[in-house]
Every structure is written in C-alpha cells, then in structure tokens.
C-alpha cells in the first residue's frame, strides 16, 4: 500500500511540467554580467529619468558590499552573478497600442499559457499585464480602467507617464537596503506592473500580471507597485511559468503595496515556475521580497499564495500594520517535491493599535524536498490590543522529505494576544480506509484529503485562480466547492 500511495503521490505532485516549452522569438538581449555600465545600459534602454538611474546605482553599490543571506533552511548552490543576462526583451515595436501590433508569436505564447491578451478573447473580468523576460508585452483593459481613474500599466510605462507617483512610492515599503535580493532587484529591475487605485474606487475587475521567463540564462527581476488610496479596493493576481532548462535561472522580484485609510488590497499568487527535473536539475531560484504597508487606519492587506514551482523558494510576503485597526492576512499552500526546497512564510509587524493578523500556512512535502515555514510576528511596544493567530500545518508524504516550522514571536506589549499553533501529519491510513469503506478509491481519497487540507487557503483565491490552483495540485473538486 505504501508503494501504491507513493505512485499516486507521484502522479499528484510530479506531473510533467506543462509550461516547459520555449517561444522562438527574436530578443533584444544584452551581454552577460553585472557592472555599472550594464545598469546604465538597462536604464538607457528604458529611457529612464535620472532619479531612477541614481536609485539603481545606489542600490548596486550597496549590493556589492553585501553577502548572500545564509539563515534560511536552504542549500543554495553558489550563484555566479556575472554569468547572468540582466536584460532580455522580446523584440517588438515600441508603443504597442492595439492587438494587431503584438507579435503573433507572443500572442500565441500567452494564448498557450491560457492568458489571452486579446481583449476579444479576454478572460472574463480580468485585466492582464503580460510580462515576458524583461518587458511587458501587453496590458489589457487599460482604457476601461482609466475611466475610473485606475492606472494599470507596465512599470516601465508608469515611469514614463507617472514619474511622480513612482518617485513618491517606489522603495518606501521595500528599501533597496532591505536585503541582498532586494538590493539586486533595485539595481537591475526590468519591468513589472504598476497599479494605482484612486480614492474611493473599487476595481471593477481583477487585475493581474502574468510573468513568463523565456530567454535562456536570463534573470528575471520585475518590480510591482500597488498604491491603494483611501477607501479603495483592489484584488490583484499574479501567475508565473518558465520553460524547462537544465541550468538554474534566477528570479528576484519586489512587490510593494501601500494601503491607505480603509483601503483593502488582496494579492494572490499562483507560483508555478519551473521546479527542475526529478533529479533536481534546473529550475528557477525564486528569491522574492513582497511587502505591504497597511499604513492607513482600518486598512487591510491579504496575501494568498499557492506555491508549487521553483527549485528554491525564498519568500516572505509581509505586512507592516502601521494604521490603527489595520488587518494583515497570509494564506499559503506550499507544495515541494523531488529536490525542491522552499523556505517561505510571512512577517506581521504590529505597530498600530487594535491591529489584527492571521497566518494560515499549509506545507506539503514529498520526494526529497524540504519545506519550511518561517514567520515573524512582532508586537511593538505601542501596539495596544494587537491580535495574532497563526496556524502552520505540515503534511509529509514519504520519509525522505522534511517539513519544518520556524516561527519567531516577539511580544513587547502586554495587551497583545498572540497564538501560534502547528501540527505535522501524514495522510492517515484510517482516513484512507474510511474513504475506501465508503467506496472511494485510494487515488481519489488522497485527492480528497489533500484538497481538504489545503482548502482553507484555496478558498481565499479568486475563482479563476482557485481553479488553476486546484488543477495544479491535481485534485478533483469536491461537489461542495462552488
């Protein structure tokens, strides 16, 4: 039975990576290596204002003095930063306006990924910014959103059209000094999405960015900035895939969110970067800094993530709860298999009064993988009546993998109530037997149980993504799930 179960598991979590193909398209690619000239070149290609170049150079100089962090429960092979291409963009005419201008190859690429960028075939109710390698290919529904005053465009475009907003907010949540990969990103970031929701506006549709790495030996360094003014609401989705390649590729992104009074930002990710083959060869190194500043009173920032991809994941979407009554949430399912490694979690920094945070993390480890939750809950001295509840569950499948929980709880205020719970389990034979006895075969039983285990998080995803996440986990939907 053990053997059989492993096979099923194999099926569930080790399906062939289906986004592993390559688009054959001509790219504008700069030579490998990193130095100040490369940074100037990137900045020039993007026609950036001086302040941005200065920012990049400062970050680069800072980064040069830093060392790669080693505290995570990961074994990261040495990365040769001179062996990476820092800019590669699919060639297409500048200032793409209509669908006709998008290279048919690119359009095909995103069609094949299930992300139609043609507004005629649009995903119902989702505006997409499609990013390939270092640049944004197309942003849909821009005009429709603009009617409400919402700015949704590629980061490069925002730099050209809204430099003041970029200047005002970029680096305020994640300064370039924050950590090694944040500094690197700040020096070489290429593109990403920018999103501005004016006061009192609720976005009429989901906004989403789809990231695709295509070129070989290229690093992807995108940067996303979301600013939600008072009383606004936005639900933002992010997806990502990459071709199968034998060598590792680096992805070091930054996401910054600013939420003002009563603003609510919901950020969802389905991360499906190429995880490497079953022997651990290849795959993306996903080193990402995501942070939200819930600066306004009654503001709320929610992170929901389903992490199935990447060879190595190093990622802690966090919330700084600065405003009074601010709310931070983190819901995560992380699946690791074969030789994947994940060290992921969150930080909830309570500063305002009556702030509340919730952390629900579900890890599933299989194969030879290691899956760690690492999280910090910090209640600062003036954070009266702060509340945190954390639940971190791990499920192990097989006896060659590891599941770890590393919470840090720092309480500096007596009125705080902080609770952390964690359990480790496997799929119980009695559970499977119970299902068998009711006529459910073993395969479906495991599906049901894993689905049930992850459901609390999956349910937090917007519909379109929930379906994708379910498919990703290879779990059939229960009748009860809407």
């Amino acid at each position: 039975m053990e053997k059989n179960k492993d096979n099923i598991l194999h099926k569930y979590t080790q399906n062939e990576y289906k986004h592993g193909w390559v688009t054959d398209i001509e790219s504008d690619t700069i030579p490998k290596g990193l130095n100040e000239d490369v940074i100037r070149m990137i900045s020039k290609k993007k026609n950036e204002p001086q302040f941005l170049l200065d920012f990049r150079l400062k970050a680069y100089r800072y980064w040069k003095e830093m060392q790669m962090p080693s505290w995570a429960h990961l074994s990261i092979p040495e990365i040769n930063y001179q062996d990476i291409v820092y800019y590669s963009a699919p060639k297409q005419k500048a200032g793409t306006k209509s669908m006709d201008d998008v290279d048919p190859e690119l359009q095909k690429t995103f069609d094949r990924l299930g992300i139609p960028i043609d507004e005629q075939k649009r995903l119902a109710g989702v505006a997409v910014d499609a990013v390939m390698d270092s640049s944004s290919v197309k942003t849909t529904f821009k005009e429709k959103l603009a009617e409400k005053g919402i700015i949704f465009c590629s980061f490069s475009e925002a730099v050209q059209n809204h430099p003041d907003l970029i200047k005002e907010y970029m680096g305020t949540v994640v300064p370039y000094t924050d950590n090694y990969f944040a500094a690197l990103n700040s020096a070489v970031f290429s593109d990403g999405s920018f999103c501005y929701i004016p006061k009192g506006v609720k976005t009429p549709m989901e906004l989403s960015t789809y990231f695709r790495i295509n070129a070989a030996n290229t690093g992807q360094f995108e940067r996303t900035l979301i600013v939600a003014e008072d009383d606004s609401y936005v639900s933002y989705l992010e997806g990502c895939t990459a071709p199968i390649r034998d060598n590792n590729q680096l992805h070091a992104a930054i996401v910054e969110i600013v939420a003002k009074n009563n603003a609510h930002v919901k950020y969802s990710t389905v991360q499906n970067w190429y995880p490497g083959d079953k022997n651990g060869k290849g795959g993306i190194y996903n080193f990402v800094t995501k942070r939200g500043m819930a600066q306004g009173n009654n503001s709320k920032i929610s992170w929901t993530q389903v992490e199935t991809g990447s060879a190595i994941t190093w990622k802690y979407p966090s919330v700084i709860l600065r405003g009074d009554n601010a709310v931070g949430e983190f819901y995560s399912v992380a699946v690791t298999n074969n030789h994947q490694q994940a060290d992921t979690g969150t930080k909830m920094i309570h500063i305002g009064k009556n702030t509340k945070s919730t952390i629900v993390s579900k890890g599933i480890s299989a194969g030879y993988s290691n899956n760690s939750y690492r999280g910090l809950v910090k209640i600062t001295k003036n954070a009266e009546n702060a509340r945190n509840f954390s639940q971190c569950d791990s499920m192990l499948m097989g006896d060659k993998c590891g599941a770890h929980t590393f919470p840090y709880i720092e309480t500096n205020n007596k009125t705080a109530i902080v609770e952390h719970e964690a359990t480790t389990s496997k799929i119980g034979e009695d559970q499977i037997f119970y299902c068998n006895q009711r006529g459910i075969n073993e395969e479906d039983a495991i599906g049901l149980i894993v689905n049930g285990y992850a459901k609390e998080v999956i349910n937090k995803l917007p519909m379109e993504f929930a379906v994708e996440a379910q498919t990703l986990l290879q779990i059939s939907l229960e009748g009860s799930v809407g």
């Binding site: 505290w71 429960h73 209640i379 001295k381 791990s394 192990l396 499948m397 097989g398 006896d399 060659k400 993998c401 590891g402 599941a403 770890h404 929980t405 590393f406 919470p407 840090y408 709880i409 720092e410 309480t411 500096n412 205020n413 007596k414 009125t415 705080a416 109530i417 902080v418 609770e419 952390h420 719970e421 964690a422 359990t423 480790t424 389990s425 496997k426």
Partner: protein, 460 residues
C-alpha cells in the same frame, strides 16, 4: 562591527588566562580529562563568546556578562566556617543526600561521609576522575558538544570539579541527591563546574539542584552537566534557580537517553540576573520518554532564556517540552525550542509549547518554538501564546466576589501550577508552590531563605 572587536578582545582575555594557568588546571586530574582542554579552547577561540548575531543567541547577548573581570577559581575557596552551619535548605520534610558546591568546587562536609546503599556513588567529580577512570572516561565529554558549542568548549577547557553521581545497574536510590550550588566571595567570581550523572540500566535516581548566591558580588557560572540514562532507567532532574540580580548563569545540560528510559527535567527559575539554560536532550534508543519543563518568573531587568533542543533519532519515542513564564517590570524572556525528528524516528510523538504572561508594557518575550521533521509518520505539534490571564476565568472568580487583583494572582498561580504540578517529589513540589506564590505576590525578592544577610542583592 564594534561588537566583534569587543568579542575578540574578550575572547583573548580567556585564552590568555587559559594558557597562563594551564598547569594549575591540569593539576590533580588525569590525562584523559586534561587532553581535551587544548582542543576545546581552540573551539572556543574559533567560535568566541556568543552574541546576538548567532541564531541560537539572537535574543541573548552574553558579551556584557563576560566583560566583567572575574576571579577564576583555580583552587577551592578556603573558608573558616562550616557551610552546613550557614546554609540550610528549608524545604520541610525533604530528605535528601545533600552535596554542596562552593564556587564550583565540591565542598567536603564535616559530617561523616554517608554510606550509600546499593553501590551508589556521590562524590566530587575530581575525586571520581582519579578513582574510577574507566567509568568516567566512558562518559566524559561524550554527550557534551565541545566541538561546536563555544561555551561548552570553554567549560571543557577549564573544568576542574563538580559532582559525580553513579547508580549501578538495577539499583534504585533510597532518596534524592540534592546538589546545592553556592556562590560566595568578596570579589566577582566565575565558576565552571562539570557534573556527570550515570544511571545504569534499570537504575533510578532523583536529582535536585538548587542555585544560590550568598554574597552580593557579581557571579558568572558556566556549567556543563552530562547525564547518561541507561536502558529502562529513570531520572528526575529538578532544578530551582534562585540567584540575585548581579548573577549570570549559563547552564548547559546534555542528556543521553538509552531505549525505554524515562527522564523528567523540571527547571524553575525563581530569580536571577541573566539566566541562559541550554538543554540538549538526545533520545538515543527506541521508546524513550522525555519531559523537559520549565517555569520562569522575571521582574526588574532580569533576562531569562531557555534554549531546548530535543533530538529524536529513534522510533517510538515521546517528548514534551513545556515552558511557561510570567514577566513583570522590564524583564525579558526568550524561549527557543526545537524538536528534531530524524528520518528513522517514525512514530515519534513530540509536543512543544511556550506560554507567557506579560504584566507590563515594558516586559518583553521572544519566542521561537520550532519543528524540524524528516519522518512522515509522526505526531508533532507546537504552540506559543503570549497574553494575559484568561478573561473567562477572571470573570468567573470575580463573580464569586474575589477581587480583581486577587483573582489575577490566583490565575497566575494556576498558570504556574501546570509546571510545578509535574514535580514528582511531593515536599519539593509543595515548597515550590509556596515559593512561587510568594514570588508572584512580590514577597520574595531574593533568595530569602538563606540565613546570610548579603546586603539584599535582590535590590541591585
């Protein structure tokens, strides 16, 4: 950067001291002990004094504690009075074999040596090292990690004396051993004693350790205790820490459990300046049971840090870590617990919890309850809470007419009870109950049951 520079400077002081006094350190001890010193000091040289950049010492920087100029005790302190006369353990009806360590040196009582039944040995570590070389050699430095833990290495480099306890196969001790660690001097002093307890197969022992400061000087203790608990053997290790605010106590406990053994470790920190307890509990056979419990009560600017590492290497073992703390004034607490379940340790059941009550806004608690699991058929859970006494319970008490303050005290007392209630020596349990209640009422600000008036160091 300045911290590192400072550490190097400090480190050199200890290295210097070591090489200058190496002959004294070696004097009277056999080669198999002395041979370990130089390698150990090299480890210390490499690792230095832990500071808050070390993950394991994130919340406890020891540099300022090591900074003071301490006298090292190369020889036992000469005193012209009988310690038994001035120090009396006041736990009523607690009948024990009492041994005293004075500044880390075994103190020979004037009272005649007790005849111990069943071939049990309680003696000075120094004496035992010469008398039972094959026995000590088999265990000495086998469980303590002098290769990567710098303070354990420092102890191995400097250790000269301590307590040796031996319980032969199948023997049950008639009554508990009580080790009383006394610190007494006119100048600041540093003690680094080394204990070794060997409980052979199916043996049973209870050890009670009490830590006291008898004079108001600053003291630094860096002790190592190695415990070997053989197959099917039982050990209770109860400890009451009650030192004054000018003391730093670093205690390194290394436990090795063979299969079917059962160990209960219970550490009650009533008082202290800076306390760091390191527990390394190794379950090295199937079907072991381990409970590592602790209660800490901190006030003023005390700092109490418990670091617990439980290593499940074999199947079918059970462990439970529970540490609870009440922090008042500006006291800070830290807890770092780790359950490591190795690949072969299937059917492990391991639990870990750290619960805290903060009484003021200046008190702080940092907690890291961690799990590291490599086996799939295990039951592990951990939890941490920080908050104030339960509101429902508080209301229940008040609705019966009990005033708010009293109700809060009762609940804190109940909070502590979960640990104290586990002590398996009833007179000790009763006494600790009483001490904790006094402590929570603020009536016990120092080691008030010693008869020496040491100028109320508790007020330091």
């Amino acid at each position: 950067m300045s911290i590192d520079a400072q550490s190097i400077d400090l480190k050199d002081r200890y290295l210097d001291y070591f090489y200058k006094n190496l002959e004294y350190l070696k004097d009277g001890l056999p080669a198999y002990i002395n041979d370990k010193r130089e390698k150990a000091i090299q480890t210390f040289q490499k690792k230095g004094i832990p500071h808050n950049k070390n993950e394991a010492y994130k919340y406890t920087d020891l540099n300022s504690a090591f900074e003071k100029q301490y006298k090292n005790y190369m020889h036992p302190k000469k005193i012209d009075f009988n310690l038994d006369d001035i120090f009396k353990c006041d736990v009523p009806e607690l009948n024990t074999h009492v041994v005293l360590l004075l500044n880390g040196w075994f103190y020979e009582n004037k009272t005649p040596r007790r005849q111990l039944p069943n071939g049990v040995i309680i003696s000075s570590f120094r004496e035992a090292a010469n008398k039972y070389p094959s026995l000590i050699k088999k265990h000495y430095n086998q469980y303590a990690d002098s290769e990567s833990e710098s303070l354990t290495a420092l102890n191995t480099a400097f250790a000269q004396d301590g307590v040796f306890l031996y319980v032969p196969e199948g023997k049950v001790m008639d009554k508990p051993v009580q080790i009383i660690n006394l610190l007494l001097d006119e100048e600041d002093g540093m003690a680094q004693h080394r204990n070794l307890f060997v409980i052979e197969e199916s043996g049973e022992a209870k050890v009670i350790v009490c830590d006291h400061t008898l004079s108001e000087k600053n003291f630094l203790t860096n002790s190592v205790t190695e415990m070997y608990v053989g197959q099917n053997a039982n050990l209770d290790f109860d400890r009451v820490q009650n030192e004054h605010n000018g003391s730093t106590q670093i205690s390194n406990i290394y436990l090795h459990q063979e299969k079917d053994s059962n160990v209960l470790s219970n550490t009650i920190t009533l008082h202290g300046g800076l306390v760091r307890n390191n527990f390394y509990m190794q379950l090295k056979g199937e079907n072991c049971e381990n409970q590592t419990l602790g209660l800490y009560l901190g006030d003023r600017s005390q700092h109490i840090d418990n670091y617990v590492h439980i290593d499940h290497a074999f199947p079918n073992c059970r462990s439970n870590q529970l540490f609870k703390g009440v922090l008042d004034d500006m006291a800070t607490g830290a807890f770092s617990g780790r359950i490591l379940v190795r690949q072969d340790a299937q059917k492990t059941e391991a639990y870990q919890a750290n619960n805290n009550i903060l009484l003021t806004d200046d008190a702080k608690m940092n907690s890291k309850p961690q799990l590291e699991i490599y086996a799939d058929d295990v039951k592990c859970s951990h939890g941490g809470t920080s908050g104030q006494p339960n509101e429902n319970a508080l209301f229940y008490l008040r609705s019966r007419g009990i005033p708010y303050k009293e109700a809060q005290l009762l609940l804190m007392y109940a909070f502590a009870h979960e640990i104290i209630g586990q002590i398996r020596t009833p007179p000790l349990q009763d006494r600790i109950h009483e001490l904790v209640e006094k402590r929570l009422r603020g009536e016990l600000s120092r080691c008030n049951y010693c008869e020496i008036d040491c100028g109320d160091p508790g007020k330091n």
